[in-house]
């Protein structure tokens, strides 16, 4: 027979042991789960707002992407003309035209316009790329009508007052002048200058000296020709539906008259296929900046998605091959990344790195090796999956801020990228596999990239001699001399 009293004692002892064991197990298991990263939950579905579109009676395309929780609205007017539409003898005309919008109408001075916009906390900005001009207006939802009224006035009734031309040109001059202190800007501009040589895109690459050549009549001509509703689109992101947006935009923009514009798609510039190394002296630079790249396809190409996956493997982040090799393994660079810019007619794949002067040539060779066929052929399925994971994860992050979201919608509409780049983005990335990546790489990574180096010539001259041939340019892109087999002429 079991003594009940003893049993109680045993039970207590047993329970106590159990408690101690449980506690120990709990602590042990906690320590254990800290040892390695947790397994992620299943990927959540991405539900992007639909991009709804309509064409108004004057030909203006309207696109609305609804974000109902937002108290702010982002408005974008995209004119389908950019710097490559400036006349070859008038580079900068597109930028100056955009910057003169908001500088006066027949009834309002620049100061009054600024005052009207600020009177309701509005924010207005213009930006010009190779193919398009974008005007952005951010505003509180409650002030939409006030915003549209002044927005339509400054665009449709722009008077381009002569007095404001000097101010705008002076500002543009100093902005460019200031940017030329940045070695990356100087290097990238020179790269594009060399890649787009002889192509209409070359007009887009200019320095501050040419701004003085653009006169009021040139700007008026550019505006009259390209600023037409049938050559523009209006994007609204925020708490707005298509029918309300159509009504409001029609109301404010219905006096804008259409005109036939013949603007055919430019052919892509050919990729560079000869060895070219360029150097620009920037005396204040402490390190050497390398920018190298070549022409690839536009974003409408079926190679786009395999390419962005491959780019991610090569140089998208600090964990990518270029960074790991040039910085972490070799110690040559403070950074090394790759990327691409996409335009209407083509794209440009590039690599940028900041290296110490002594290892310029070694760094260029390492970069060429990393993006060369032999290295690309060694890309593994694991790397492809990691790159896809990054791109899928990063997509909603990129598009979360309202203005970025609105700009992405504008980009998709302006370049006719369609659903592939929006609601089918995840699927397109998921479908990329090793074979597709290798096929894309084979097609586009063979030609030789143009190499541009920017640095202080006094510090880097000896190391430039390690190259067979280096062409020396001034900051405006004029070739000054050549270092051939170590001898400068």
């Amino acid at each position: 027979m079991i003594n009940p009293r003893r049993m109680d004692g045993m039970r207590i002892f047993f329970l106590a042991c159990l408690c101690v064991l449980n506690f120990t197990l709990a602590a042990w298991s906690q320590e254990r789960f800290r040892k390695s990263p947790p397994i992620p939950d299943p990927l959540q579905e991405l539900k992007l707002p639909l991009i709804e579109s309509a064409t108004l009676s004057n030909g203006l395309t309207l696109a609305v992407a609804r974000k109902s929780s937002s108290p702010l609205l982002s408005l974008q007017l995209v004119v389908l003309a950019g710097e490559s539409d400036s006349r070859p003898d008038l580079p900068g005309a597109a930028s100056l035209t955009a910057n003169m919008i908001g500088r006066g109408t027949d009834l309002l001075s620049a100061g009054e316009i600024e005052q009207r916009i600020e009177s309701f906390g509005g924010e207005f900005a213009a930006s010009v790329s190779l193919d398009v001009t974008v005007f952005t207006f951010n505003v509180l939802e409650e002030n939409l009508d006030k915003a549209l009224e002044i927005f339509s006035t400054i665009v449709l009734k722009a008077s381009f007052p002569e007095g404001q031309m000097d101010t705008v040109k002076r500002t543009a001059y100093y902005e460019l002048f200031e940017r030329e202190k940045d070695p990356e800007y100087v290097a990238k501009r020179q790269l594009f200058r060399m890649l787009f040589k002889g192509h209409p895109y070359q007009t887009s690459i200019f320095n501050e000296d040419v701004i003085k050549n653009v006169g009021r009549q040139d700007i008026v001509a550019f505006y009259d020709h390209f600023y037409r509703p049938n050559n523009a689109l209006f994007v609204i992101a925020g708490n707005m539906n298509l029918s309300t947006a159509s009504r409001k935009i029609s109301h404010y923009f219905n006096t804008w008259t259409a005109r036939r514009i013949d603007r055919s798609l430019l052919p892509s510039p050919p990729p560079n296929d000869k060895e070219q190394v360029a150097f620009i002296d920037l005396p204040q630079a402490k390190d050497a900046t390398i920018f190298l790249g070549n022409v690839i396809f536009p974003a409408t190409s079926s190679d786009y998605f395999p390419f962005i996956v491959l780019n991610q493997v090569l140089g998208g982040t600090m964990g990518s091959r270029l960074f790991m090799n040039l910085r972490e393994s070799k110690g040559y660079a403070s950074y090394a990344f790759s990327g691409a810019d996409f335009f209407k007619s083509c794209g440009v794949f590039w690599v940028r790195a900041k290296v110490t002067p002594e290892v310029i040539r070694d760094s260029v060779q390492e970069i060429l090796k990393e993006i060369g066929p032999a290295a690309v052929e060694r890309v593994s399925s694991f790397e492809i999956e990691q790159a896809k994971s990054f791109l899928i994860g990063n997509f909603p992050l990129r598009n979360e801020p309202l203005t970025s979201f609105s700009l992405e919608v504008a980009r998709i509409k302006a370049f006719n990228l369609g659903e592939d780049h929006w609601s089918k983005y995840y699927e397109n990335i998921i479908l990329v596999n090793l074979e597709r990546v290798l096929a894309t790489a084979q097609r586009f990574f063979q030609p030789r990239p143009v190499v541009v180096i920017v640095g202080n010539k006094n510090l880097v001259a000896d190391y430039l001699r390690e190259f067979d041939k280096v062409d020396i340019y001034d900051i405006s892109g004029n070739q000054r001399s050549t270092i051939n087999k170590g001898v400068e002429k």
């Binding site: 602590a27 906690q30 789960f33 800290r34 040892k35 390695s36 990263p37 947790p38 397994i39 992620p40 939950d41 299943p42 990927l43 959540q44 579905e45 991405l46 974000k67 929780s69 937002s70 108290p71 702010l72 100061g111 600024e114 005052q115 600020e118 009177s119 309701f120 906390g121 924010e123 951010n138 505003v139 509180l140 939802e141 002030n143 708490n239 982040t317 600090m318 964990g319 990691q386 994971s389 990054f390 791109l391 899928i392 994860g393 990063n394 997509f395 909603p396 992050l397 598009n399 979360e400 801020p401 309202l402």
Partner: protein, 448 residues
């Protein structure tokens, strides 16, 4: 939690706060402030804030600690900023820089920021990776690797940054000097970056002790916003954070000593290395009443926000005496300063700036702001305030900052309404109270 339910919850919360309740009845929470909010505190003192937003499949995680330069001792300046670097140098289960790699590999973004009295560590990731971030953050909260090698490496990084910033920003040292003038108490006035000499003197033991004292759950806020499931998130938080031991009670801050006047109000920095003459102007603001902060924020906007703001319009556009203008209200806990900085072409212009600023400050005291100007300032305020809540990360930073500052998050809507109730009389009264000659200080930079 649905949006509807959460809005009701916020309104209920403010009804329990008598002062705020009135405002809530008058005005429903505006769009942008009607988000759900869940708050609780773990046994170890870690305060948790959760706010759902299902619009995109991502989450932002902020771990904010109540520590910054304010906690540094003389001779050890730069310690809080050094800690920001060290927090990426690895912990018991995560090797150096692995934190960054884990976040980048999944397409996430990360950063850290040290403010005067707070330090923020944050990341935004796909929502299915929430556990990963909690694992990373809990590991560095519980077991940061403080080794001689790590500390020396971090010191070198921070000193290199100091040198780089000093050579790139020729006016930086003058900013630091002016801060010391406006906030003469070391605790409030020394620079975030610290001095190179102090950094060299910081030992491994200093770092360890600083970490043990301030980077503890009872001195931190964990804020998660975005696409999250509250019960599941609570489970994960319990798993990763509950067993981190509570730290000792965080020492009280020394009470700030109001500095009434000073024998030297105007300082001149001769032979400055700055390329152009520059001028700092500021008022010390000691111990503002709580209700006065609303008016001060609107006044800040009137003076500085936009090209039509009073100082920009006068100094840059109309009189063209300043090449560059910046300024605003700076808060260092209960102490504040109103600061203006200008760069001019020559000393004459610089002197004209001084006079023009004084004249504008005088106008604030004597003339009522027009209704139109006030409405404009309030619209800017709305844009800025709602903009600070417009992404999951911005919202998480805003909420954790407000929480560490001791603000009741349930009262956000009521607080917002108070800014919109500022009147022209509020501005004039504040200007007369705060902008007195005995609180005014200048620092003039004369170039070589």
């Amino acid at each position: 939690m649905s949006l509807k339910k959460s809005a009701a919850w916020l309104v209920l919360a403010v009804l329990f706060c008598p002062q705020a309740g009135l405002n809530a009845q008058e005005q429903a929470p505006p769009k942008g402030l009607d988000f759900p909010l869940t708050q609780y505190t773990l046994k170890n003192g870690l305060h948790v804030i959760l706010s759902e937003d299902e619009s995109l499949p991502l989450v932002s995680v902020v771990v904010a600690y109540g520590v910054g330069p304010i906690r540094e001792q003389p001779g050890k300046s730069g310690l809080a900023y050094l800690m920001e670097t060290l927090m990426f140098q690895g912990s018991e289960n995560i090797s150096p820089m692995q934190h960054i790699n884990y976040i980048q590999r999944i397409g996430g973004e990360f950063n850290a920021n040290t403010a005067f009295d707070k330090s923020f560590f944050y990341q935004t990731v796909p929502s299915n990776q929430l556990a990963l971030v909690l694992w990373l953050e809990s590991d560095r909260m519980g077991s940061l690797s403080v080794t001689g090698v790590n500390v020396e490496r971090a010191k070198e990084t921070v000193m290199a940054e100091q040198r780089q910033r000093r050579s790139a920003e020729p006016y930086l040292d003058s900013y630091f000097l002016f801060d010391e003038i406006l906030f003469p108490d070391f605790v409030y006035g020394h620079p975030l970056l610290g001095s190179e000499e102090d950094l060299r003197n910081i030992t491994e033991e200093d770092v360890r002790s600083f970490y043990r004292t301030y980077y503890v759950p009872n001195n931190a806020v964990l804020c998660i916003t975005g696409s999250l499931n509250v019960p599941r998130t609570k489970e994960l938080i319990a798993r990763y954070f509950e067993t981190i031991p509570r730290g000792n009670d965080v020492p009280d801050l020394p009470a700030s000593k109001p500095v009434e006047g000073s024998p030297i109000r105007d300082t001149e920095l001769k032979e400055s290395l700055a390329p152009s003459p520059a001028f700092h102007f500021g008022y010390r603001i000691n111990h503002l009443q709580r209700g006065e902060t609303y008016g001060l924020r609107i006044l800040d906007i009137l003076m500085f926000r936009g090209k039509g703001s009073r100082l920009y319009k006068r100094l840059v556009k109309k009189e063209r005496i300043a090449l560059y203008l910046s300024g605003g209200i700076e808060e260092r806990r209960e102490l504040r300063a109103f600061k203006v900085f200008t760069i001019s072409n020559n000393p004459v212009m610089s002197d004209l700036c001084r006079k023009a600023i004084a004249s504008e400050m005088g106008k604030l005291k004597t003339t009522l702001v027009s209704d139109a100007e006030l409405a404009k300032a309030k619209d800017f305020f709305k844009m800025d305030y709602l903009g600070r809540l417009s992404t999951s990360l911005l919202r998480a930073l805003f909420l954790s900052d407000a929480s560490l500052s001791g603000n009741r998050l349930e009262d956000l809507a009521a607080e917002y309404a108070k800014y919109l109730k500022v009147t022209p009389v509020t501005i004039v009264s504040l200007a007369n109270k705060l902008f007195t000659p005995e609180n005014a200080f200048t620092l003039n930079l004369v170039t070589k």
